[in-house]
Symmetry: C2
């Protein structure tokens, strides 16, 4: 194992894409045997991490995420950046796979030498998709990628998961009819640092700008300036024509600089790490509670009694805690 890890480390340091792919496969593995080597690898490359812009990208199916990432990614590559594209799709499975991070949908970017595209890991045991992606970000950074895009499709809680592992969260939107925006998911605008109204081309330009203005007003109400180190920005763009992509990169750079200068960037990453640690502990501990011998047998009935209002929440909680001999 020692020699294997050495080979992984060497390949990562030199930016060998094949080794990078295998390292991420190791980190994504659900096999119990792979966990110790994966953690040893992460430990070894940890000092090399942290050097990328971690950018989350979300939007409903049809908004043009793949085209956006393709064109945006190429611009960055052509400007000298090394760009990695990861994806979080909790519905991804080993057999079904995922359309996210699908190279065939990012035709040009997948042909660039200094781009690395990886489909979403499958949801397995042991922390699931979020854990695997967080660790893959670290591996990509260690391999010298200075931009890591994490794509998510907006299924379930995936935006919240991604927003908590990146520095900046970009939401792509479409123009809707009248006041309504298409497919906007509740809570997503709370997470956005930058909102880009896509497909602002041809006859749609005017509508896109109107949508932009509405979103800006709404964000000013919902997220008033002064409360956060960065107030969310709204722009229009056309991934197809390339319009607005430059501006988006400038905003990302401005966001990065603003937060870095105030110390907020490091603080944000630190707190993300700490929250993630406790999240992993909490998940494992609460899973253990549910299967605890003294708890498991009566749990279904207890939950049913709570839902049915036949017992108070407090009494039910005390039943569980007493069974585990824990003080409330």
């Amino acid at each position: 194992m020692g020699t294997d890890i050495e080979r992984y480390i060497e390949g990562i340091r030199t930016g060998d894409r094949a080794v990078l792919g295998r390292a991420i496969t190791l980190v994504e593995s659900d096999r119990a045997d792979d966990r110790a080597p994966a953690q040893a690898l992460l430990r070894a490359v940890l000092p090399l991490t942290g050097g990328a812009h971690r950018i989350g990208i979300s939007g409903v199916p049809g908004v043009g995420k793949s085209t956006f990432i393709d064109r945006f990614g190429c611009r960055l590559v052509d400007a000298g950046h090394r760009v990695a594209v990861l994806a979080v799709d909790p519905s991804s499975s080993r057999t079904r796979g995922s359309i996210l991070g699908d190279k065939t949908r990012m035709e040009e970017l997948s042909q660039r030498d200094t781009a690395f595209i990886r489909p979403s890991p499958s949801a397995g045991a042991a922390g699931g998709v979020a854990r695997k992606t967080r660790e893959s970000i670290l591996i990509c950074e260690a391999a010298g990628y200075d931009v890591v895009l994490v794509e998510t499709v907006g299924v379930g809680q995936s935006e919240t998961l991604v927003a908590d592992m990146v520095d900046v969260f970009l939401v792509l939107m479409l123009t809707g009819a009248g006041d309504e925006l298409q497919g906007i998911k509740r809570g997503i605008l709370e997470l956005a640092d930058i909102v880009a109204v896509n497909k602002a081309d041809g006859a749609n330009v005017k509508a896109a700008r109107a949508t932009r203005n509405e979103l800006e007003s709404a964000l000013r109400l919902f997220r008033p300036p002064g409360h956060e180190p960065w107030h969310p920005r709204v722009v229009t763009c056309s991934a197809a024509s390339g319009a607005g992509l430059e501006e988006i990169w400038h905003l990302i750079a401005e966001h990065h600089q603003t937060l870095q200068q105030s110390g907020d960037l490091q603080q944000r990453r630190n707190q993300q790490r700490l929250r993630w640690m406790w999240s992993l502990v909490d998940d494992a501990v609460m899973a253990a509670v549910r299967v605890h011998p003294a708890v498991a047998a009566g749990l279904e009935q207890l939950e049913s009694d709570v839902l049915g209002g036949r017992t108070t929440a407090t009494a039910a909680a005390e039943t569980i805690l007493e069974a585990m001999e824990i003080e409330r």
Copy 2:
């Protein structure tokens, strides 16, 4: 204790306000000796609970909450309702008390026989202010109060706590200068079922209506219709003149009816109870983790290492879980 509980139950059934106050004091008590009697009382009156409109009311200091509750409460009392006013103020302490639920600020309502006003319990151990208030709601319902208002001042996470214990959440707001609304707290508009722009009187009426329109547009964007059983409504009102208070009650009644007919009201309450149970279990279990002998000694250093990026979150989580012999 048997006879005492019987006396409490009897006093609650007959709507005896003095007994009601003592029962709530018992439920709010942090003393270990009081916990069994309190839970016995709750168990005994549980079948009598559930019969009130549970209404959360939030807004920044200065928005006019006390005047609003005073006038709104009086209208309900005069229309034949029995109105209880509770408060959640996590900053309340046994010595300092709280201005919330302060009878002197609800002059008229405090003089009505069929109104019951209770200041916020102090944050103590054992589940804190939220637990005490949830249980007090049950006691008030058992005593025949058919409207329970739970006031919160918007400190920390208190709105989220209150929103998760009521049927409907009302946010009072002020008109601001230009596009900006005064003191709007991030996330609060996600929780609101009804928003009332207060102080819509005299020269301020026009500005209040403009604010109403802006909020409505923003809510349509952020919380598009169709996603929830009830889409949030925005009105103007003047607690001082009484304008709009009738409309607010109609909206509350409409909300209640809509959710009751669809089964969502019961579902909402059931899920609140279940979430609350697991929240209590989680709090106690995670507190036990932190003081676990095998964990406590090294925890500070471990958290410091995670914050400082010297170890990965996964490795740190595994350290804790291994120490407690729990599988990840």
